[in-house]
Symmetry: C2
Subunit: 256 residues, 2 copies
Amino acid sequence: MSKVIAIANQKGGVGKTTTAVNLSAYLGEMGKKVLVVDVDPQGNCTSGLGLSRRRIVKSVYHSLIEQVPLKEVIMPSGFTNLDLVPSTIDLAGAEIELVTALSRESKLRRALEPVRGNYSYVLIDCPPSLGLLTVNALTAADSVLVPIQCEFYALEGLGQLMNTIRLVQSHLNPSLELEGVVLTMFDGRTNLSIQVVEEVKKYFREKVFNTIIPRNVRLSEAPSHGLPIGGYDAKSRGAEVYRELAKEVIERGEKR
Amino acid sequence: MSKVIAIANQKGGVGKTTTAVNLSAYLGEMGKKVLVVDVDPQGNCTSGLGLSRRRIVKSVYHSLIEQVPLKEVIMPSGFTNLDLVPSTIDLAGAEIELVTALSRESKLRRALEPVRGNYSYVLIDCPPSLGLLTVNALTAADSVLVPIQCEFYALEGLGQLMNTIRLVQSHLNPSLELEGVVLTMFDGRTNLSIQVVEEVKKYFREKVFNTIIPRNVRLSEAPSHGLPIGGYDAKSRGAEVYRELAKEVIERGEKR
Ligand SMILES: Nc1ncnc2c1ncn2[C@@H]1O[C@H](COP(=O)(O)OP(=O)(O)OP(=O)(O)O)[C@@H](O)[C@H]1O
Ligand SMILES: Nc1ncnc2c1ncn2[C@@H]1O[C@H](COP(=O)(O)OP(=O)(O)OP(=O)(O)O)[C@@H](O)[C@H]1O
Ligand SMILES: [Mg+2]
Ligand SMILES: [Mg+2]
């Protein structure tokens, strides 16, 4: 039984990649077989796991645009139970190339079909936009996990994101659910953070994960070493909370 | 004599909107007539200046897609010498609508032609992507200002951004220059910030603005009040540095 979760929010810099890298690494450590798919042309998820984009020959671009089987693109990440579908700079042109392709929104879903059964979780890291790459991820996914930064601008875009999810549900993927909302970069010293948490809890209620991710400099240092937080500083607050989040994702999945 | 500056970086959350709002507001306070154009479908620049998107009837979308003259879309921001071309949610569909339009990359440049002479500066806030909205902004601009967050992932995307600028220079806008690079969210307590500053200075040399923007919570609180930092807390460190940046932008412009 495998679950495909898209990690999406068109607001930039809210912690999508940081969540994709660290959540997938901890799910792997807890014995789950995990595939993380990087559909962001920036490729931060790929480099956050320590892989140099220059070394990569085939990427998610080739599966989306040239129908190369995903099996040929998947590579080991080097971390326990964690495989990666890397992104490279080719992906930057994919959104325009997809516009005129047949069933352009379902390319990723079709590519994942033959391999998803090999994993308990497939996590998809999305770019900061609601274009065809994110729509492909939402069409391929069983659910969507939304990181929300504890800042004012991050609240603004939620309406648009929920609109897009509803559009995908009615036209492309009726079974798409909201996995939940994860509050990120929480800074208890500021009123702003506290106000955002209250707003988000009012709107999303039980869909808000109990685990709140605080601002923690170790989380932003880890990618420069190409390591998930557990490999960089397992005793840090950042590592603790992402371990808790992984447990909560597993528990919530079992309750359904 | 007017100068059009695009504020662009496809990495999300690096301070594009914060720079657009506060730099334009201070240039206005210093007696320059300024127009700020919000081409991000999220519309953070519009709401950061206190305008409610629901009240807005015509936006940049109508000028790009329906050729409505920009004069009919421009509205006063409520701040000294500062006008705004607002963004609304319609813009979310513009990228796909633009793909098949004639001379799709030059829509914004043509729309700005008749009005740019009324302003000393036109600043364009871009979304976190290198799609057709950002390409429109780069085609319309005389120069591009790149905010770079002092974090690892923010360094990664620079190559792609410079590639896109070069492509625009060779195919769409030969006179496009690099206005400069502004380092943002600098946190002197972390080695990471210091390393990023060194890397960026090595690569961009004299193109790096002397003014470095520190992380300052007042900057993230101001948008929730719909005010530029000068209106929210003029004595804060955030206000000081954006005032300094405005002076530096003016001085650099005069030296050329
Ligand atoms: N909890 C945290 N504490 C401190 N820094 C963080 C935290 N989460 C993420 N960061 C840092 O903040 C920046 C933005 O995070 P990240 O890149 O994961 O966001 P994103 O949503 O994937 O961005 P984009 O929209 O560009 O894809 C990164 O430099 C990252 O290292
Ligand atoms: N110097 C700063 N200190 C503290 N917070 C800041 C600073 N600059 C920006 N912020 C906050 O960080 C977040 C990201 O900044 P901003 O929205 O301006 O970036 P952006 O590049 O425009 O994002 P996007 O890619 O989504 O358009 C916002 O919540 C903003 O209020
Ligand atoms: Mg990311
Ligand atoms: Mg912005």
